[in-house]
């Protein structure tokens, strides 16, 4: 039992092999109550398999998975599932049923009310199509119905596999607002995503997967530190003074671009403050200073390209 540690989910040396192919290899992490975790990785990195193991749909070849203090593949605790919401990667429905019939069926299984269904259909913008067969739905509409069913019955634990694919920007925004609301009520969520910029602000922690291996995990700050990517600075100086400024800064400074009025510099995070002080010491010749920290995309591609120290 890990609940006394406040771990909602705990993976210990989890591996999954299909035949000779290793899909997940020796992955361990804990997820605390109320956290929003984002699983990042390319296609086939093992994100979906990890989720399926946490949901108890698939059993690990070795290692232990605990969700709410129990093995999800063995104990199919009813109580556990009442408060669980899952959106599969490519969600499939009973095609012959209408949108509202599908949602009503799932709501009955979770013990959610009909009003919940109507509200959710309204939230995801499917009210107008509620009486249509799901077979006639577009990909985006299916995704929206998928979200609606995942949100049934105020879930406390959410598993969302690529939740925003096929959603238009306004609906994406709405979707993240919905997630925020659930988080304020104490929900825990595990989201897998390609769209890093979207989830950047929401996630407490990231878990970066590559070919079944967990290659990095942590908060955004921790990932920046681990990646040790250079910070870029751009300074504007009095026209024509760039070469003299470069000289005064010294030869150890890394200058990536230079023209008549601007200099682009880069340095490691630890050297940033001394460099800024030296720039301000230059006096009136410097008109402007912009500091650009590395973007999440860069951090991600840094880990993905495998140049991990």
């Amino acid at each position: 039992m890990n609940t006394q540690n406040n771990h909602v989910i705990s993976l210990d040396a989890v591996s999954k092999r299909y035949g000779t192919e290793t899909v997940v290899s020796d992955v361990s992490f804990n997820i605390q109550s109320g956290e929003c975790i984002v699983l990042v990785g390319h296609n086939g990195a093992g994100k979906t398999t990890l989720m399926k193991m946490m949901l108890g749909l698939t059993r690990p070849t070795s290692g232990n998975v605990e969700v709410l203090g129990a093995n999800p593949a063995v104990t199919r605790k009813v109580a556990q599932h009442r408060t669980l919401g899952y959106l599969p990667e490519s969600v499939a429905f009973y095609e012959a049923m209408t949108g509202s019939e599908v949602l009503a069926f799932y709501a009955r299984l979770k013990g959610a009310s009909n009003i919940d269904c109507e509200n959710l259909l309204d939230t995801v913008g499917l009210s107008h199509a509620a009486k249509r067969r799901v077979g006639t739905y577009s990909k985006g509409m299916r995704q929206r119905l998928g979200l609606a069913q995942a949100m049934l019955g105020n879930p406390q634990l959410l598993f969302l596999d690529e939740p925003t694919t096929g959603l238009d920007p306004s609906l994406r925004h709405q979707f993240y607002e919905l997630i925020d609301t659930l988080h304020k009520e104490g929900a825990t969520s595990v989201i897998s995503s390609h769209a890093l910029n979207e989830v950047e602000a929401r996630a407490n922690r990231f878990i970066i997967m590559k070919s079944g291996v967990l290659i990095a995990s942590g908060t955004l700050d921790e990932l920046y530190k681990q990646a040790a990517l250079p910070v870029r600075l751009k300074i504007s100086v009095t026209p024509g003074e760039t070469s003299s400024v470069a000289e005064r800064l010294g030869s150890e400074i890394n200058i990536s671009a230079i023209n008549n009025k601007t200099l682009k510099l880069s340095c490691f995070n630890g050297d940033k403050m001394p460099l800024i002080r030296r720039i301000t010491d230059l006096g009136d010749v410097v008109n402007d200073l912009q500091i650009m920290p590395p973007k999440l995309d860069e951090v991600y591609s840094h880990f993905m390209n495998g140049d991990i120290s």
Binding site: K52, L55, G56, L57, T58, R59, R76, V78, H81, R82, L84, Y86, P88, S90, V91, A92, F93, Y94, E95, A96, M97, E101, F105, Y106, R108, L109, K110, G111, Q149, F159
Partner: protein
């Protein structure tokens, strides 16, 4: 708030039932079964002849002989897709993340499919029975024989629904399931009996005793169904010309019904066993 297991079963069963109503499956089955029952009974009421068999008894014989082919076919058509279809489309994965256990999924579907067959058989055959009663009258015993024929047809259907699930959980693709289901139907409905007759014809020295032959008959759910219907009621067995044969062979209705129950429970248990181990 706890959700009792029975309620979940009912939710799943009602979904299957609604599916059956929505795709006109139930309507089609009622029409097919009703038309055949009516045609057979109206035709069958003509040659009652010197045995003085009632129209109802004749109908039981002809309907039982027909149902042996038709009901397994209908049942397999209902069930072969039940699991593999949901695996293939991906709906099973989502369903199993709901507060539903795997045995509830199987039993809920089973309940729903049996309910569909119940409606089809009892309205199709039952409707024909009512018309027959108005046209040519019926005795209490005739009614009993007819109703038990309907009930045993439902049991026969349940057997093949369960067998269909077993096929459905074992194969990888829907097409394979369809093919295997047809094969299963051929074996149980046609080939096994042909084989038995063949053995009897070859076996001139009677190496196979009556006991063994009876046992071989009981292995097949369809033969069990036939014997049950043709021997359980005197009027029917006299009309069929096999009065006393079954009891001489040591078969009573308790044994026959037990065999049919076994054929329902065993494939369901096997299906559940395989399904429990399956990863999605």
């Amino acid at each position: 708030m706890k959700m009792p297991g029975l309620k979940v079963l009912l939710i799943l069963a009602m979904k299957e039932l609604r599916d059956g109503l929505r795709n006109r499956w139930i309507a089609a089955a009622i029409i097919v079964l009703g038309t055949l029952a009516l045609a057979l009974s109206l035709l069958g009421s003509a040659p009652t002849g010197s045995v003085k068999a009632s129209a109802m008894d004749i109908s039981v014989i002809s309907l039982a002989s027909l149902s042996v082919y038709l009901i397994p076919l209908i049942a397999l058509m209902l069930s072969f897709d039940a699991l593999v279809g949901e695996f293939e489309r991906g709906t099973m994965m989502l369903l199993l993340t709901y507060p539903v256990t795997r045995w509830q999924v199987i039993m809920g579907k089973f309940l729903g499919h049996v309910l569909i067959l119940f409606i089809a058989i009892f309205s199709g055959y039952g409707g024909a029975m009512l018309i027959m009663t108005f046209v040519s009258g019926a005795s209490m015993e005739g009614w009993q024989a007819y109703v038990s024929m309907m009930a045993s047809s439902l049991a026969l259907g349940a057997i093949f629904i369960a067998l269909g699930y077993l096929v459905s959980v074992l194969v990888k693709e829907r097409a394979t399931a369809a093919g295997t289901a047809i094969g299963l139907w051929l074996v149980f409905v046609v080939l096994y009996d042909l084989l038995l007759f063949g053995v009897l014809l070859i076996d001139e020295d009677q190496l196979i005793g009556q006991q063994l032959f009876s046992a071989l008959m009981l292995v097949s759910p369809t033969d069990t169904y036939r014997i049950l219907n043709l021997s359980m009621f005197d009027g029917v067995s006299q009309a069929a010309g096999i009065a006393g044969v079954a009891s001489e062979a040591g078969m009573n209705s308790v044994l026959l019904i037990s065999v049919m129950l076994f054929w329902i429970v065993a494939p369901l248990a096997a299906t559940l066993f395989v399904f429990q181990k399956r990863e999605l």
